[in-house]
């Protein structure tokens, strides 16, 4: 397909592209949070006496992962303005 034809037929919706970007970031964040949750649960099952400490650090780590997903959301916001 020639470039001219492509430009004619395709009207790019930046909002939709930004939404796809945010969705991809959510997948990444989901994998990260899932891994942390799984490991934290396993560690708690092995050493129930460490539960308090493990819970605290798991929450902090989840906040870090979440922040990475949110960085992508910010980029999507910026892209939507264009």
């Amino acid at each position: 397909m020639s470039l001219a034809l492509l430009q004619e037929t395709a009207t790019v919706s930046y909002g939709a592209l930004a939404a796809i970007g945010a969705g991809l970031a959510a997948i990444g964040g989901g994998i990260g949070v899932g891994k942390i949750g799984a490991s934290a649960m396993e560690a708690m099952a092995r050493q129930p006496e460490m539960q308090g400490k493990l819970q605290g650090s798991a929450i902090v780590l989840i906040a870090f992962i979440e922040a990475i997903a949110l960085f992508a959301v910010v980029v999507s916001f910026l892209a939507m303005d264009k």
């Binding site: 909002g15 906040a63 949110l70 910010v74």
Partner: protein
């Protein structure tokens, strides 16, 4: 009243106020289809007037530094017009409000004209020092912090055995938490004292402003800690303190780390140098994005009712909003904690000496 009945009641009151507020703002300007993006961006953006309920708004002072001196007037003179239609004249200078940005019309221009991307073409932006919604909210939180902490300090002074009473009793465990869990493990037993005032200020300022953002009615509800200028300023202060407390060890390990082959040093030095700036940038964006995302999620869920245009969605939507709000209460505390923790960590890295 028992707490178990009191809490859902409180939640219900909060939510009904919030929902009704948005519903009424929809009624007053309902032409064309409901625009979710516009509603959400209107809420998370700063504003020159404070919307209270329905048609009631509180005007805030507009303070401008123009080429011919200081100009002040109340934002009520724009008559809620943020499209640039209403011109306010002061000392022969004409001002318009275009999407909450104040523009000064060029000489001879009678009204603002836009180009194809709706940027004004015949107007310039003066230096804007206005008390906006966010600034108002910040003053409010400063006032609250001063009141709380002066009361707490006074209760220590009054007591003979250094046991606080009243509000001091609530604050003591939090302050001890910041000292024992954030400052001492990251900065070190000997040097942490100097950084405690800053870390405590950071923690309480961010936390209280985050909580203000969650309360959905008048003197609160502004999205201050979801404003990138606010988080950026805090991150810059952290960065400056890090630089001023840095020792030669910090710079040596960043620019020419010992024990690494020379060809690796050439690669690592620029990465480490950029890392110095990326750390406060990440601090800035983390807080901004987390708080903004919280506001956007709550507003999107409420907007579902208007997007689908049926009342039957509202129970589901309200339940989701309650759920997200409960998570948000947790998130705002964690974000204040993380910002403080990372600041302490950076100070600790800068202070590190030879082992």
């Amino acid at each position: 009243m028992r707490i178990s009945t009191f809490r859902p009641l409180l939640t219900f009151i909060f939510l009904s106020v919030f929902t009704v507020g948005i519903a009424s703002s929809k009624d007053s300007e309902s032409e064309g289809p409901f625009n979710t993006t516009e509603l959400i961006f209107h809420h998370i953006k700063d504003s020159h007037e404070f919307h209270i309920a329905g048609d009631i708004t509180m005007p805030l002072p507009v303070i401008l530094w123009t080429e011919s001196g200081l100009v002040t007037f109340m934002s009520g003179e724009f008559h809620h017009d943020a499209e640039g239609g209403t011109v306010v004249e002061r000392n022969g200078m004409k001002f318009v409000n275009v999407h909450e940005k104040i523009y000064q019309l060029n000489d001879g221009a009678e009204e603002v004209e836009f180009d194809a991307e709706s940027h004004p073409i015949n107007a310039e932006r003066p230096v804007d020092l206005s008390i906006t919604k966010n600034v108002f909210s910040m003053f409010l939180s400063m006032l609250l912090i001063v009141l709380i902490f002066v009361a707490a300090a006074r209760s220590y002074k009054k007591s003979d055995v250094n046991v606080p009473r009243g509000i001091g009793k609530i604050l003591e465990p939090i302050i001890v938490f910041v000292r024992d869990e954030i400052a001492i493990p990251n900065i070190g037993e000997h040097k942490y004292r100097k950084y405690m005032p800053f870390l405590l200020t950071l923690f309480f300022f961010i936390w209280i402003n985050n909580i203000f953002g969650l309360i959905p009615f008048f003197p609160f509800s502004s999205n201050l800690s979801g404003n990138i200028a606010f988080t950026g300023s805090l991150a810059v202060i952290t960065f400056i303190i890090t630089l001023f407390s840095s020792k030669s060890y910090y710079w040596k390990h960043m620019l020419w780390m010992p024990g690494v082959p020379v060809y690796m040093k050439i690669f690592l030095a620029p990465i480490e140098f950029l890392g110095m700036f990326i750390k406060p940038m990440a601090l800035m964006i983390r807080l901004f994005a987390n708080i903004t995302a919280g506001h956007v999620i709550v507003l999107s869920l409420i907007s579902l009712i208007f997007v689908l245009n049926t009342l039957w969605v509202s129970p589901a939507s309200v339940i989701f909003v309650v759920f997200i709000s409960v998570i948000e209460v947790l998130v705002v505390a964690i974000q204040a904690y993380i910002f403080t923790l990372l600041s302490a960590l950076y100070f600790g890295q800068a202070l590190e000496g030879e082992h």
